[in-house]
Assembly symmetry: C2
DNA sequence: CTTGCCCTTCCAGCAACTGGAAGCTTATAT
DNA sequence: ATATAAGCTTCCAGTTGCTGGAAGGGCAAG
């Protein structure tokens, strides 16, 4: 099938599929006689795999590793788990950071009248965070 | 003072300060006779303001708006609050997304033995999310 | 036969820096 | 005085993960 069809079935934009091919994340597919990329069902399956792992927030590099492991029937699940665990830890860290930001911002937003007057605790809080 | 000193006092890398100048976030400082950038205390104050607002996760563009408002003594606090509120909402949305990812990943990681055997619920979950 | 859509490649740009090269000036050490 | 090191200048390239657009070829329908 052409890239348009593979795009529909995988849920990835055609642009993105070509990009993944360029950067080596996915192997180049077969080519039809007219030069068009020709995707198999297996190719589409892998594209979907990549879309899902990207959707879980894995970096393209991590997706590449996960895809290799997926294709390696002699894999060790410990290797997969290590990647996922590391990613999970990073996500948890990110959540903590964002919650801190939310807390600070929420406080600032709530103390600002937000009207036509110029005095603004938000700006003061940014200028001098120690004052919060 | 030279950029190195301004960097120390503001907490921003010299590279970043030059970058902010290039992109118009901060006004170009005075220049000494030797061509070196020459920062005033006021300049440093603004650099700190930018560092803090970046630290709160505002985009450079939003920082630019906030800095303008900070310098505008006739500002309306409602304008500031609108920017901060929008950002807060985005952060809350981001937190929700990450919590979803965390939930899914946590489940996957916990169901994987993570040993030398090849069967791996993480890979299966990525390949077929409907199965989770 | 032309219109329109799909495909191809390549180049540029987004955010927000960061690193490095090449070439000044200034400060320090001998 | 001189050699070296540190700090400054500019400019260009790379990072991540795409996305948009230009220029051109393929192919089916009207």
């Amino acid at each position: 099938m052409n890239i348009g069809e593979a795009s529909k079935l995988s849920g990835l934009p055609a642009k993105t599929i070509r990009y993944y091919e360029d950067t080596g994340l996915i192997a180049p597919p077969a080519r039809a006689e007219n030069g068009y990329r020709d995707y198999s069902d297996t190719d589409v399956h892998k594209l979907r795999f990549v879309r899902h792992s990207r959707g879980l927030g894995f970096s393209v590099d991590e997706c590449s590793q996960l895809l290799s492991l997926y294709e390696d029937k002699g894999r060790q699940s410990g290797d997969v788990k290590a990647i996922a665990q590391k990613h999970l830890t990073e996500i948890e860290e990110k959540i903590r950071e964002l919650q801190e930001l939310r807390s600070t911002l929420d406080h600032l937003v709530n103390t600002c009248h937000g009207d036509g007057r110029p005095d603004c605790p938000i700006l003061e809080g940014i200028a001098d965070p120690a004052s919060i």
